[in-house]
Symmetry: none
Subunit: 214 residues, 4 copies
DNA sequence: AATGAATGAGAATTCATTCAT
DNA sequence: TATGAATGAATTCTCATTCAT
């Protein structure tokens, strides 16, 4: 999404721009974020921004993808760290709680993601998602499908239902984390409690001797 | 919240204004909604808006309260229709699914409420909430506390945890309903599936003969 | 300047209007004073103002004349109270200090007069003055001419010069009185000191035997 | 006070803007002066004004300081031209009459200063004065104190009284000069007559042998 | 490639005045 | 005569974007 010129920029300058933009976009809604302020804070000419990015929107998308990539990195790392053949709920906890750790690296990245859900034109949201090929709930749904197959989730529950619940729970805590109402540690605890309840709801009932469901 | 002038307006005109404002505020964030556009669409002079409402904020509050009242009406009705002494989960389903019915009357009313939850200007939400004296998640938490007392919810689960889960699930479906991605019927079905899982997770395990939980 | 309708108004209502208008015009510049606010505070319909006065300007003129008349009354009274055949400086002190007493009756009247000098379009000022046939410096000039004739003022000094000095001194103190920086008593003291110096400057030098000035 | 952009402007354009602004601010009160009008008259885009100045207030301050600096230059020059060790009244005449010469350069500069003295929004004057670090009457008072010390002013007269009289006289003539009712030459003559009278009032009575004052 | 000045549309809001009832 | 709703022009200020250098 950035133009080639941006890639050719000296690292330091590129960093300054990203930093300034992160500050601005994470602090205020997309609509109220101001390119003027970003340029000023980054110490470059306002006009130069248009040398690097098509327009405000393109800059935003770039940051958003950046945030996504970092988050994904955290999540992947957390999942890698699991033992072999982890069960569905273990993956989940690892992934989401791992994602929360992004807040420790740079809260603005998390905030950016949350702002996105929040104040983007409903239409734009999809435009961006499409534009970036982003996952989210759907990944969880895949995991859930796998979980059912392995007997870790009650087969009568649709994977999409499981995914929605988990996603919603994660968003709920994530919002408060990004808003600073919860510390990363608190968020982790909070989410664990949620997932425990969900686990009770999603796991098949003890398949003890010859039990028939329903 | 509106000035007296607004109440004295001929029904048709008032309707036009409310309609235009709903269109604007439900389609876009508060920040980007434009009084100018609203006035134009309603076919009245820009200045007249200020005869009816103190300012942009007052207009927004009026609509928001409107939406809240209608939603509450639906919810109340749904709860009234329950038999005597309904259990926690019955109340929940009734209330939330009842609330979804607002979308049948006017999807924009629902959308307005959802936008609100989304808009997260620091302190802004509180400002509106305060201005209107409104509840939300906290009501569910009270219900949950009562549910625990009655033995309908596992006592080891914090009411706030239960409330958060339910609220998150409801928001998740509500968002899609408001966005028109789900029909009211689909939303109802969808939410029922979610709540069923949650119920399994929240209810105490059958306290039948000498069973031990976990 | 007011329309007939205004004169026909019940005393109480008329009073309310004058009061509200005085509040507004004395508190803020003519430009920023708002008919809307005046009408609201007086408890009458905004449109009614136009039944009583041609427009904002006419209302202002009416108040201004009112203030002038009250001030004149104080001045006249003060002059009447002088013994017979008073000397020029006695008249002056009486008149101006008398004028200051207006502040005791209603500071807003004094403030109105001062605002007038202050923020009226240069052009308007004369328009109003003409419109009302007002005196001021010119009256003092007449007194000064008389003072010269009687030998109370050095004949080499032009009456206009004397008048300008006195007027300027009076305005200087009057401004601060109206602004509330000086109490009526302080203003009186302050002005007395000024006039004493002026007296020394204006009176003929002691006409002792055969003296030649300069 | 202006932004850098303004300084970088081609002289001609800068001149056009200053000119337009001077016209506007010298002709009308700060409140009624309109940036829109200024921009239009200067032939630049409305938005450009904000490239040059923070806001309306900053523009005003800039002009005001300009006027002040020019005036000070004239005054200084006039004072320099005095012989060594000039007496109080010589300084005064030089200073004030010197200040009047500003009107020859640009009457609007003088008018601007006078408008300022007139505008009396509560606290507004202080705001500007503070913003610019400016003196005024107080300088004269200092001179007067010095004059007393040197025996050029009757010690029974308070310096503040002397200052007020002189300031008032100067303002009186200055106003008419700025309004164009007096030519610079007339103003000079006029003020000289005033100051002569004041001198007679302020100077100690000839301290010749055994004389008794009053 | 970089600059930064210029632009003009658009935002919220205010207000004197008119006019139909 | 009294009302008060309606109007529209005016206000200050912001911003993304363009363009000449």
């Amino acid at each position: 999404m950035p133009k080639e010129t941006f890639s050719n920029l000296p690292e330091a300058k590129r960093r300054r721009i990203i930093d300034a933009a992160l500050d601005e976009f994470s602090a205020d809604s997309y609509g109220r974020a101001s390119l003027t302020r970003i340029a000023r804070q980054a110490g470059i000419a306002k006009g130069s921004m248009y040398q690097y990015f098509e327009d405000k929107f393109a800059l935003y998308c770039y940051l958003f993808r950046l945030a996504g990539e970092r988050k994904l990195a955290f999540i992947s790392e957390a999942i890698q760290a699991l033992g072999p053949d982890p069960d569905f709920f273990a993956i989940l906890k690892a992934a989401i709680v791992g994602g929360f750790r992004l807040a420790r690296e740079d809260p603005r990245l998390l905030a950016l993601g949350n702002r996105f859900v929040l104040d983007m034109d409903p239409g734009w949201r999809e435009k961006v998602m499409a534009h970036l090929g982003i996952k989210g709930e759907s990944t969880i749904e895949e995991w859930a499908r796998e979980g059912v197959r392995r007997g870790e989730i009650d087969p009568r529950i649709k994977p999409s239902t499981a995914a929605r619940l988990i996603w919603a729970a994660s968003e709920s805590v994530g919002q408060e984390l990004a808003a600073g109402k919860l510390s990363p540690d608190q968020a982790e605890t909070e989410f664990t409690e949620l997932i425990d309840v969900l686990e009770r709801g999603l796991r098949p009932r003890s398949p003890k001797k010859g039990e028939k469901n329903r």
